[in-house]
C-alpha cells in the first residue's frame, strides 16, 4: 500500500436530478502507483471525467459522493488522508499544491482578459502562506514561472506578457501544463490534454510530460479515449465502462491479454497506420444510457462473449496475477465448466 499515492475505494457517485438519479461511478476501486503514468480509458458515459473530479474533490451539484473514499498517501510512510472528508482550508492546500489538473481544451481554462503573468501571479498569491510583501511575491512568481515555462519549452520573456488569444493551441496547452506545475504538485490529472492539437505537437507535449514524470517524479493520471496515446505513454491502464472499472493492469498486459471483451473490442476498433486493417471490427450496439442501464453486466448487450449469467448478475472485480478484471468469464468458482 505504500507504493500507492492514491487509492479510490468503493466509490459511488450519483447525480441527483428532479425525477431520477444517475449513477456515474458504480463501486469503483482503483489504485495509482506513486510516480507512474496511469491512463484511464473510456468513452461517453464511462465516468472517467467524474472520477477525475472526485480525485480533485470538485464534484459539482447535483453530483454527490454517496459512499466510498478517495485516499491520498502524501508520502511513502502511508499516512492517509481522506480527500472527501477534508475541510475547505485543507482542500485549498490539497488542490493545486498536492494535486493539480490540466483540463481538456485550454480555451476555457485561461482567463481571456488577463495576461499569462497575471494568471500565474493570481494563483501563487492565493496559495501564498504567511505575510509576503508584494515585491517578494512578484519575484517569486517570476522565478517559478521561468522554471515551469522552461520545462515546457516556452520562452518566459515572450510568453508572460501575452494574452491567451495570442497563443496557438499547442502553446496554450503547454502553458496549462506549466500552470499545473506551479506549486510542485505530486499528482497531475490530464483530461484529454491533446485533443484539437496536431499529432506532431501532441507528440512533443507527451514527451514533455514524460520528462516531467521521470525527472520530477510527478504521478500522472491521463484521461483519454485514444489507445495509441495510451500505448505510447502510459505505464498502467484502467478501462472504464458505464461507471465501472472493467480492467486494470500494466499497459503491455492490457494490450497483450485484453481480458475484458470491451477492452478487446476497443483495441480491435482502433485503426492503425501500420497494422493490417482487415481484423478491425466496430463494437456492436450503442453506448450505455446511464438512465436505462442493462441488467447485470452493463456491457452484456454488446458483448460477443456474453452468456447466461451476464444479464443476471453484476460481475465483481477479480485479480488474476496483478491484472484486475470485472467479467464473468473469469469468475472461475461460479462458472460452469
Amino acid at each position: 500500500m505504500n507504493d500507492d499515492i492514491l487509492l479510490i475505494k468503493n466509490l459511488v457517485i450519483e447525480y441527483e436530478l428532479k425525477r431520477y438519479s444517475i449513477r456515474a461511478i458504480d463501486d469503483v476501486t482503483m489504485a495509482f502507483k506513486r510516480g507512474s503514468i496511469t491512463a484511464i480509458v473510456g468513452e461517453s458515459g464511462s465516468g472517467k471525467t467524474t472520477l477525475a473530479s472526485a480525485i480533485l474533490e470538485v464534484i459539482s451539484s447535483p453530483g454527490r459522493i454517496i459512499s466510498g473514499d478517495v485516499l491520498y498517501f502524501q508520502n511513502a510512510q502511508g499516512f492517509e488522508t481522506k480527500i472527501n472528508n477534508l475541510k475547505p482550508k485543507q482542500l485549498n492546500h490539497y488542490r493545486w499544491q498536492e494535486c493539480s489538473m490540466v483540463f481538456q481544451g485550454a480555451q476555457s481554462s485561461l482567463n481571456p482578459v488577463m495576461t499569462i503573468y497575471e494568471q500565474f501571479y493570481e494563483t501563487m498569491m492565493v496559495h501564498a502562506t504567511g505575510n509576503i510583501q508584494k515585491g517578494e511575491l512578484k519575484e517569486k512568481v517570476l522565478r517559478r514561472a521561468k522554471e515551469v515555462l522552461e520545462i515546457v519549452n516556452l520562452d518566459v520573456d515572450r510568453i508572460m506578457p501575452m494574452y491567451p488569444h495570442e497563443l496557438s493551441g499547442g502553446m496554450k496547452q503547454r502553458v496549462m501544463i506549466a500552470f499545473s506545475l506551479l506549486l510542485n504538485p505530486k499528482i497531475i490529472i490530464l483530461d484529454e490534454p491533446t485533443t484539437a492539437l496536431d499529432v506532431i505537437t501532441q507528440d512533443s507535449i507527451f514527451k514533455i510530460l514524460k520528462n516531467i514524470n521521470r525527472d520530477m517524479g510527478v504521478t500522472m493520471i491521463l484521461l483519454t479515449h485514444d489507445m495509441g496515446v495510451v500505448a505510447k505513454f502510459a505505464d498502467f491502464v484502467g478501462v472504464m465502462y458505464a461507471g465501472k472499472l472493467v480492467e486494470y493492469a500494466d499497459t503491455k498486459s492490457v494490450f497483450g491479454k485484453r481480458l475484458h471483451p470491451y477492452t478487446n473490442g476497443l483495441i480491435s476498433a482502433t485503426p492503425s497506420i501500420i497494422a493490417d486493417n482487415s481484423s478491425l471490427k466496430p463494437i456492436e450496439g450503442v453506448p450505455p444510457d446511464l438512465l436505462a442501464l442493462p441488467s447485470g453486466c452493463p456491457f452484456h448487450p454488446r458483448c460477443p462473449q456474453a452468456f447466461s449469467k451476464c444479464p443476471l448478475l453484476k460481475p465483481k472485480l477479480i485479480e488474476l496475477n496483478n491484472h484486475l478484471v470485472s467479467c464473468h468469464l473469469y469468475d472461475k468458482e461460479e462458472t460452469k465448466a
Binding site: E43, S44, N153, S168, G169, G170, M171, A196, D198, V199, I200, T201, Q202, D203, S204, H225, D226, M227, G228, V229, V230, A231, K232, T251, K252, F255, G265, L266, I267, A269, T270, P271, S272, I273, I274, A275, N277, L280, K281, P282, I283, V286, P287
Partner: protein, 335 residues
Amino acid sequence: MNEIIELKKLHVVFSKRVGLFRERRFHVLKNVDFFVRPGEIIAVVGESGCGKTTLGRIVTGLLKPTKGEVLFEGKPIYGFLNADFANFRQSVQFIQQDSYAALNPVRTIYQSLRAPIIRHHRKMKNDEVDRRIDELMTFVGLNPPEQFLVKYPHQLSGGQRQRVLMARALSLNPKLIVADEPVSMIDVSLRLSILNLMSELNKKLNIAFIYITHDLATAKYIANDQRIAVMYLGEIVEVGNINDILTNPRHPYTQALLSAVPIPDPIVAARQKDIPIKGMNIASIENRTTGCSFFERCPYAREKCQHEQVPVVKSGNAQIRCHYEKEIPIWVKPQ
C-alpha cells in the same frame, strides 16, 4: 477528361484589415492542383490550419477561390448558367464534421430529410417521398425509420446524426460526397461502422468521396488502396497511393507525421523513433508566398528552399513538392 472535380492552380487568400492602412493576408490555399475521379475515394490529410476544410468548401462551391479554376466534369463552374450550376450542386454533396450543427435544431429528422427531396423532385407524390425517405434511412442503418424520423437532432446520438447526414447527402443522388472529419466527434468504438457505411456507399452506388481528416489511421482504413493527399500550410505536399505513401513517405513532412502518429501497440510504440522535424511551432499562414512552406521545420532544408518556388516532382510512386527530393532519406517503419 474523366474527373468529376478538378482544381487547377487554386489560390485562396483571406485579407483582414489591421489598423487603418495595413492588411494582413492569409494564404489559406496556395497553388493547389487537385482532382477526383468517378467512384474513387481520396483522403485529404493534414493538421488544423493546413487548408483541408477550405479545400472542401471550394469543392462544394461554398467558397469562391481568389485565383484559379474549379472544373466540374471539365467545365469551369463559375461560368455556368443556372441549370448547369444546379446540376453541379446536386452532384456534389457535403457531410460536415459537427453533426449537431449541420441539422436544423427545430426541425424533426423527417422534415430535414423531406425538404431536399421535394426540392429536387417536384413531381413526386407524398407517399413516394415517404417511401424514399424510408429507403434512405434503412440504407444508412437507422431501422425502424419511424423511430428516428419523429425525433429532433438533440434526441439522437452523434453516430445516429452522422447517419442522418449521410442519408440526406444520398437523397440527391450525388456523384461526389465531401466528408469533413465525419467521425472525429464519435466514440472510438462506433467509428468503424460509420466508415464501413461510407465504404458501402462508395462500392454499391459508385459515389466518389473526399475524406478530410487529421487522423492518418482512419484515412488508411477508408482509402484502402486508393489515393491520399497530404497538406501542409495550404499546399498539397505529397499525393499518391495511400499504401505506398504510408510505407514509403517521401516528403519530410509526411515522414514527420508518420513518425508522430501513435500506434495502438505498446511493443511497437516503444520502438518509435524521434520525429524528424525542427522546432515545435507551426509557422503562420500569413504573408508567405515564395519558397517552401515547410522550410522552417524541415531538417533537410537549404538556402534555395526559402525563396524559390517549389516544383512538383515524382518520387517513388507519389508526387511531392520538394527541391531536394533525392536527398530525403528513406523512412523506416517501426516494426
